[in-house]
Amino acid sequence: MLHIRCPYCQELRSEEEFSNAGEAHIRRPPDPAALSDAEWGDYLHFRKNPRGPHREIWVHTAGCRRYFNVLRDTVSYEILEVYPAGVPDPDAPGEPTP
């Protein structure tokens, strides 16, 4: 059972209050029509799915209902970092925010 500190409510709550919304910092291609089928398929379906630290999106469903980002280890389940949505990807700081 995870305990997550919502960056907006600033409270440590059980995972039961939250929903996971998948990998974070996936940027929608600016011009989808310009992509090949393979590139568009990659954007839609292919994920990093790392064994280790994973940046992912969570929603405080039963709380403030706002989205935020979590850096969590997928083996130890330790939560390493929690930060609001809209913060640029710390692993790729040059990229525009999704």
């Binding site: 039961e16 929903s19 998948g22 398929g41 990659d42 799915n49 064994r51």
Partner: protein, 416 residues
């Protein structure tokens, strides 16, 4: 390989069972093989067995980081059925079910396949409509299926709470008589023993650390016991497919999550079929030794720790107690998790990759056990002929570029 039979049982009994031969060898790795299969679970061992028995390819090694059948093969709830909605999936799973029916004889190993029927309950009008649609689709595909009324459900499962006053009343069910359960370890052991008899090397305690490639083609694998050369490398590593793919510089449309199950203390026979419910989410059957085998859900987030979140167990057991009030005082013995590779369309990926000689059979998600024989059969055929088996063709990796997904999420009886 010594044939298991009644005379052999008598012969060994007369010698106090002290001289049974090993079921398979423990060989040292050779320098190179024609085909190396990564992953010594049911699917990998079945692939090795069918490669050797159907295609005469015996220069094969199965590489396993732990022990045979120690991953998801030993962690599932052993349910076998083929009542899938979409044609592509239904054909593949029903082909597999057909192999299950003769598997014990073929392998000379009792896999304890017990076709005791599989029941999917419907609790809402919409669910009953979906069940009717699915059963009709199954019958058009030649798969057995019936729609049961509440009274028929109650007659088959007397302990089930079919009261109209329950919170989610049972309105009916779909019923596949040929479905059932099998002994999961025996499937791995049976395939392992039969493959070993053909000369396949089963290399346990051998972890793959890298996939070596030259000019876009695979040349072998790096392992904890050194380099092993191979013309073909076939990855059947449920739960770790993404990790293996990264070693070859590939990405997969897969996310890995723990799926949990638990078993109770042994009880006298009280449940002689498989009962599944989407709406309250649980599935339950009784193993031959008496334990109730209960399937829980998958976590809502990625994870590689082979354990799941406690809230999933709470939800599942509250559903079990709602459906079977008599089980509310049964104690649970053990609980565990297995890592399942889930594709966006809840269907597997079988076939070639952009790296020549590298094949993947993965992404079976939460329903791989039932497919073990069929998966091995079509994958072996794909490897031996270097083209997809007709049943495996729709499951190629390129469907995620073409968009021809086979949407079984929620369509296949259990939605998780």
């Amino acid at each position: 390989m010594e044939k298991y039979s009644l005379p052999s049982l008598f012969r060994h009994a007369s010698r106090h069972h002290e001289d049974w031969p090993r079921a398979w060898r423990d060989p040292a790795p050779k320098e190179a093989y024609d085909t190396v299969i990564v992953g010594g679970g049911g699917h990998g061992l079945a692939t090795a067995y069918y490669l050797a028995s159907k295609h005469g390819v015996t220069d094969v090694a199965v590489v396993e980081k732990g022990y045979l059948g120690g991953g998801n093969t030993g962690r599932n709830t052993t349910i076998v059925r083929s009542n899938y909605l979409r044609d592509e999936a239904a054909h593949l799973y029903d082909f597999s079910l057909g192999l299950w029916e003769g598997l014990s004889q073929e392998l000379n190993f009792n896999v304890m396949f017990s076709p005791r029927g599989a029941m999917n309950l419907g609790h809402t009008l919409q669910e009953m409509r979906d069940i009717e649609r699915r059963v009709n689709a199954n019958r058009l595909n030649g798969i057995d299926g019936e729609i049961l009324t509440t009274a028929q459900v109650q007659k088959r499962v007397p302990l089930l709470n079919c009261s109209p006053k329950s919170r989610y009343p049972v309105m009916g069910a779909s019923w596949q008589p040929r479905g059932g359960i099998a002994r999961h370890d025996a499937v791995a052991w049976g395939y392992a023993r039969a493959a070993d008899a053909y000369g396949v090397d089963l290399l346990q305690q051998t972890e793959v650390t890298g996939i070596r490639r030259r000019n876009g083609a695979v040349t072998g694998i790096e392992t904890s016991r050194g380099f092993i050369g191979a013309r073909n490398v076939a990855c059947v590593t449920a739960g770790n497919s993404g990790v293996l793919a990264r070693m070859a510089g590939l990405r997969l449309p897969i996310e890995s999550r723990p799926l949990q199950a638990l078993v109770s203390e042994p009880l006298k026979p009280c449940l002689d079929t498989v009962v599944m419910s989407n709406a309250v989410h649980c599935y339950i059957s009784q193993a031959d030794k008496g334990d109730l085998v209960i399937g829980a859900g998958a976590d809502g987030y990625n994870g590689y720790g082979q354990r799941g979140s406690f809230r999933i167990i709470e939800h599942t057991l509250s559903a079990v107690c709602e459906l079977f009030p008599a089980f509310s005082r049964v104690r649970m013995n053990r609980q565990w998790g297995g890592i399942v590779d889930i594709c966006p369309d809840a269907c597997p990926v079988i076939g070639k990759t952009p790296v020549e000689g590298l094949y993947f059979n993965c992404g079976w998600g939460t329903g791989g056990f039932k497919a073990t024989p069929g998966s091995g059969y079509v994958f072996a055929d794909t490897l031996a002929n270097e083209r997809p088996h007709p049943l495996a063709e729709p499951f190629a990796l390129d469907r995620f570029a073409s968009g021809a997904l086979i949407d079984e999420h929620g369509a296949a009886g259990v939605a998780h």
